[in-house]
């Protein structure tokens, strides 16, 4: 069976095939939720944003002109919804236990005891500091950093998603890294390989 591309699924969804769109959801919901999770720092809100992203995309799928990849379109919707949710939030979570981004870190830190416990603790603290540093970034820097450095999108893809030139994306990534490096150094960490 030939695997359908995203464009094929979108074309089918435009024709009323909800199952095709469901397949599109299964392809991208994990990444969309991951993106929303890093932006919102809330699992429940990330799940809501993920659902809302696909629902809004399906309702407006006729507006998709096909000039870009469908996932960039979905990412843009997710970022907009996440930023809107973030701005409407009245409080934010600062504790390590409440931060869903630290789930994987805690899970890995509580791994086999053969690993260096001191290193694990340092790693955990470093990631928590990194989370705080990311939260201190502006929305544009944070969204760009998450898309490029965490989600692994290229500068071109991030430019299409965020609607900014690639040069701007590159500058944002550099600026975000610089700020995070300085932030970590201020908290007693020495990021290797990052030349000030």
């Amino acid at each position: 069976m030939v695997k359908l591309t995203d464009r094929d699924l979108v074309d089918r969804a435009k024709g009323g095939d909800s199952a095709a769109f469901g397949q599109l959801v299964r392809r991208h919901q994990s990444r969309i939720q991951r993106l929303a999770l890093h932006l919102l720092r809330s699992r429940s809100e990330a799940e809501d944003v993920t659902q809302e992203t696909f629902i809004r995309a399906y309702r407006a799928i006729e507006r998709f002109d096909g000039r870009s990849e469908p996932y960039t379109w979905l990412y843009r919707i997710a970022v907009n919804l996440s930023l809107n949710t973030l701005r409407s939030r009245k409080s934010s979570r600062t504790t390590e236990a409440d931060d869903p981004r630290m789930a994987g870190v805690v899970e890995n830190a509580s791994g086999p005891p053969s690993q260096d416990p001191g290193g694990q603790a340092t790693r955990k603290e470093a990631y928590f500091a990194l989370c705080q540093g990311i939260d201190g970034l502006s929305e544009s820097l944070r969204a760009t950093l998450i898309l490029v450095c965490i989600d692994g999108r290229s500068h071109e893809e991030a430019a299409q998603i965020l609607g900014a030139p690639e040069g701007t994306i590159a500058w944002r990534v550099h600026e975000a890294r610089r700020k995070l490096r300085e932030y970590l150094e201020a908290r007693g960490f020495d990021p290797e390989g990052d030349v000030p």
């Binding site: 990194l130 544009s140 692994g152 965020l162 609607g163 890294r177 020495d190």
Partner: protein, 574 residues
Amino acid sequence: MSGKLRKIPSVSEMLAHWPQEGSLADGQERSALDWDEAAETIQARIEAGTKADETGEISTYLTDEEIFSTPAGQTDKDGHNTGSLTEPGRVRQSAPVPVKSVAPEESKMSLTHEQRERDRKSLQDLARLAQMTPAPSSVRMPVAAPVASPSRPSADDAMMPSSRKEEDSGLVNFAAFSPQPPASAPNSAPISQPPSSMRGMDQVMGAAMPMPVSSHPSAHSAHPSQPPGRISSSMAATAGLFDDEPLSGRPPSVAPPSMAPQFVATLPSGGVPHITADSVRPPVSIAVPQSVHPSVHPQPTKKSGGAVVYMLGTVVALAAVAAGGFFVVRPMVLKSRAAATVAKVETKVEAPTQVGPETRWQDQIAAAKPADPAATPAATDTAADQTGGKVDELDVKPQAKVAAAPAYAKKPSSPAKDNKNAAAFVLNDEPKVAPPPPAPPPPAPVAAGGAPSGGDLDKAIKTAAGPSDSTNVTPADDKKPAFAAGTVPQRPSQGAVTGAIGAVLPNARACLSADDAVSRATITFTSTGGVQSVSVHGGAAGKPAEQCIKGALSSAKVPPFAESTYTANITVRH
């Protein structure tokens, strides 16, 4: 510090290998089934057609335009490095605002672009606030006055209220602080003022302006921080925030007394009693309210009129100094030149040969000539010194010639007096002439050069200039310089040679036809400036044109020079 830092992977590596959130917070790994379940939920909602805002899951509903807009497009903040995140544990708070394509704010720890703009604007606001600062109690600000010119701005206008902010150009309206006629005075009469378009000129000329504050003794006490006589032209300057008056343009507080009469004459008889005779008043034709106290006048613009007077006075003084220097220096220069001329001529000419109007200058020279011929070189040296050491060829003569010149039996006079007489001769052309000799002596030979003797001025000049005819130059003279080194240029200047050749080159070119080849000519000048020889090479050599070219180029002449000969090569073509 670096020893205390804990080594961690790089930021890029940490971000790239962020632990997967595929596991839930409670450690349960989200399986593919869970993702399928989530997808089915989404699909069910799509089929049900419910909206998130209806269910309350999304607090703020976004329109399609908002949801498809660029979430983090290009902003003016991109490309500008901002501050670092130096505050640990700080979590950014965002205000619940609708989604816009422009990122709302930068890191709080950094100085954002908006903050910079706000700072720039604050400087303008500071100037306005300074203007709005109430004046000291000793100064009463003018109140709204029924002025005949409604276009005259008030102090409030200068403060630029918020209602006029859209017109704010960032410039402080100093014109708005021009004096206002007080209207609260019961007996005040309307003041006819020029239109606002003429106000600038009025301020410069000091016309139709109320009396300066400085004219009243209490004016100086209006603001103690200002020195007496220093009047600020604006309220902001009065407040000491800045000085709106250039240093060079600061006029004295009181105009010269010479200007007082005309101003006082134009004032009405019942003028303001505090006006003094030496206060600067423009020739106004206004009815000054008698009940107006000078202290109610706002800060004046008297500085403009005073500045003009001050500058005019300075210009006149400088012109007078320059004229004085000119009249002092000019006679000295002429005197020195005349002395040099006299010394030269008297060493060249032995005696006047005629008595007549055309020889009166020789008599005058003789009258001004020193008795001792030895003083002549000194006079020449003095002339050379006073002319900056630049001596033309007419002033140059060998010392031997001076020594060989016969002594004149004239009345003694000091060299200084001679110079003065010579200067008078040059300037007035009516010198005190000595009695002419009783009989013209026979023409005497010139000491050198064989120049014809006589009383003609041209001949005397030619004599002084030396022999210009090559026939007077012996072959022995060609071997050695005819002039002492240092008195004439070592060799003719390039400009002199070019000019001399250029004067005769057209004649030489006329010797060639269009078909003749290019010829080169070598011209040898003697130290006297004449042409010693001309040799022609090239196409015209051996042809009749050669002689023609030689004849044409032989008429060239350059100024005398020290070296025996000077050779110049030129190209002659049709």
